[in-house]
């Protein structure tokens, strides 16, 4: 016997239900209910439920659909309802009557164009947010400078330790390897036209002017920028930032300023150490692979590079730090209530700050070429 059997009697429809009307059977039951609803359209329905052995909310929901969907205006009569099921059916019926169906999701046929438009607006808004944050930070900095007791040295030193000191080993390692790789490539390709020794110039100029600061900035964006965003984001989620406001404290001054200041101090130092380490890497490869003794390497390096090259590199570091800090903090403050948005903003923060660091580097290259440095 089917769990739902219908028979027409005159103008009415007799529906006999039996068996288990529970969640595990819902896949079988639902099509039967749908068919019965179609069959019952415009007719009175009598539901015989005495053979139903068990029912849960899922079954009750299907029965509710049957009772409501079949014939608007015409009462569905149910009889033989076992005593213990009455409460559930009544409850589901009550809630079902009150609940409005969800509004259909709006679908736009211009979804693609819409998203392009939104992205453009968002990009514009990003710029505004960036400038706003820069302003707020400068404002906080001025306030702190006017009243140096409000400077938070402990906080700054703590952040310096995290973004500076603790980053040194990994920065040393990566820049050392990159210096070695550049040197090896230079030797290998320059040798073919007998200019193997010029690999030293390549390493020296490239590392000091571009690669040193770029690699370090990218590492710091991934390492410290992301952690700034995640920290501030989770503080935002748990209303800690609101708590600061209500105590009359400015989160920009308490949380953001020490972080950004620490980054601005740490990045030039890291760039310096990173560049030195890259030159060491380059020298080691020159010695082992190129057969150039360390003394000659240092001599050639002295000829090839000047302080200007070093200045060009190191001057960019604080600006890159500022960009990383502003992006990381403003993305952190944009986190909404959900774990997903925390992850999203952290990713955005890293991607955006790396992109901006590279763009900034390009602008600086044009600037230095223009003034002939």
């Amino acid at each position: 016997m089917q769990p739902l059997e219908s028979a027409a009697s005159g103008r009415d429809l007799d529906i006999t239900l039996s068996g288990s009307w529970t969640a595990p059977h819902a896949r079988v039951l639902e099509p039967l209910v749908e068919a019965a609803v179609r069959e019952a359209r415009g007719r009175g329905v009598r539901l015989d439920m005495h053979a139903v052995t068990e029912i849960d909310t899922f079954g009750a929901c299907l029965l509710e659909r049957l009772a409501r969907g079949s014939s608007p205006g015409i009462e569905t009569q149910a009889f033989g309802v076992p005593e213990r099921m009455r409460g559930l059916l009544a409850e589901v019926g009550r809630v079902g009557r009150e609940a409005q169906p969800l509004p259909p999701k709006k679908k736009s046929s211009f979804a693609g164009i819409e998203s392009i438009g939104r992205a453009t607006v968002d990009a514009g808004r990003d710029l505004v947010v960036f400038v706003e944050m820069l302003g707020e930070l400068s404002d906080a900095l001025l306030r702190v400078l006017r009243d140096p007791r409000r400077l938070r040295p402990i906080s700054i030193v703590y952040q310096l330790d995290r973004v500076g000191l603790q980053a040194i080993p990994i920065i040393f390692l990566i820049t050392f390897l990159i210096g070695g790789i550049i040197s090896q490539q230079g030797i290998f390709h320059f040798r073919r036209f007998g200019a193997g020794d010029y690999a030293v110039d390549l390493v020296g100029i490239l590392v000091l002017r571009e690669i040193g600061v770029l690699i370090v900035a990218i590492m710091v964006a991934g390492r410290s920028g992301s952690s700034y965003t995640a920290e501030l984001g989770s503080m935002k989620m748990r209303e800690e930032i609101d708590a600061l406001y209500t105590m009359g404290l400015d989160p920009v001054e308490v949380l953001l300023l020490p972080r950004v200041v620490a980054l601005i101090c740490a990045l030039p130092a890291l760039t310096f150490f990173g560049s030195i380490s890259a030159l060491f890497g380059g020298g080691l490869v020159e010695w082992l692979y190129g057969g150039m003794s360390p003394a000659i390497y240092v001599e050639r390096l002295k000829d090839a590079v000047s302080v200007t090259h070093f200045e060009v590199g190191i001057i960019k570091a604080p600006f890159m730090a500022l960009v990383i800090g502003i992006v990381a903090c403003s993305e952190g403050l944009r986190v909404k209530g959900s774990a997903e948005s925390l992850g999203l903003q952290t990713t955005t923060s890293v991607v955006k700050s790396i992109f901006l660091v590279v763009v900034l580097d390009g602008l600086f290259a044009m600037f230095f070429a223009g003034i002939g440095m």
């Binding site: 969640a23 819902a26 909310t57 899922f58 589901v92 809630v95 609940a99 909404k336 209530g337 774990a339």
Partner: protein, 260 residues
């Protein structure tokens, strides 16, 4: 009540580092009843609840649910009993990246093979049962008030039509009217769905109004359990202070008048 209890805890010992929280605790919960657990804040009520559902490791003792002892059961058996209960955590623990309706649909999606339409329909019915209006079902947990969070979490706990629900302070932080509604709701659900309820609560009104039995946790042990009359007759100083303290005298007096 001579049938085998749904939850049986024997000589349970649970602790952290150098602190013993539950010390040889024994407790039974019978099918179809609402058991209220009371005890001091920080007394280990949440720890007891978490040990029963298996989130905390026990140091000693025996816990069986649905007559199955997790220590000896196979993994499939354990999993099969896990979907027969629902848990309302103290903080709600709604998934923050899903909206209210998706939170309720989530366990159904994992465990049941349902059409999308039915799943949505049942989720709306469950949310309606706990008193969340259809406009609010699209909101995300961060946009809900405290009371709505508890209601939504209850709806999620009930998503699979469990036989047993664990509620950790369901009415704390609600206004008395909302708390009263919540009590009524739990009672209705218990009657219509035949639920067994294990409820941690500090709300004396809930204890009087809906609990069939009350267990009192003091010093890591259940010192007294039984219907409210038994608890009120208990002479233990903590119990006396809890149920007959200044703050609670009003409620007790009202009860005295209605029962005599």
């Amino acid at each position: 009540m001579n049938a085998e209890p749904l939850i049986s805890v024997r000589d349970l010992v649970v602790g952290f580092a150098d602190q013993i929280v539950l010390d040889h605790l024994s407790l039974d919960v019978h099918r179809g009843e609402i058991l209220g657990l009371v005890g001091a804040s920080g007394g280990g009520k949440s720890v007891l609840l978490r040990s029963i559902i298996g989130l905390l490791a026990k140091q000693d003792g025996k816990i069986s649910l649905f007559s199955i002892d997790r220590d000896t059961a196979t993994q499939e058996t354990t999993r099969s009993i896990e979907r027969r209960w629902g848990v309302l955590f103290q903080q709600g623990a709604l998934f923050s990246s899903l909206n209210t309706r998706q939170n309720v649909e989530f366990p159904m999606r994992e465990y049941l093979r349902l059409s999308e339409k039915l799943r949505e329909e049942v989720a709306l019915i469950k949310l309606g049962m706990v008193g969340i209006s259809s406009e609010d079902t699209g909101k995300f947990p961060a946009e809900l008030s405290g009371g709505m969070t508890k209601r939504a979490a209850l709806a999620r706990a009930l998503a699979l039509d469990p036989e047993l629900v664990f509620l950790d302070e369901p009415t704390s932080g609600l206004d008395p009217i909302a708390a009263g509604d919540f009590d009524a709701l739990i009672q209705t659900l218990q009657q219509t769905l035949g639920l067994t309820v294990f409820m941690v609560t500090h709300d004396l009104d809930s204890l009087y109004a809906v609990c069939d039995r009350i267990a009192v946790l003091v010093g890591g042990k259940i010192i007294v359990q039984g219907p409210i009359e038994t608890i009120l007759a208990c002479e233990h100083p903590w119990v006396k202070a809890y149920f007959r303290g200044k703050r609670t005298r009003e409620t007790t007096r009202t009860l005295g008048q209605t029962t005599h």
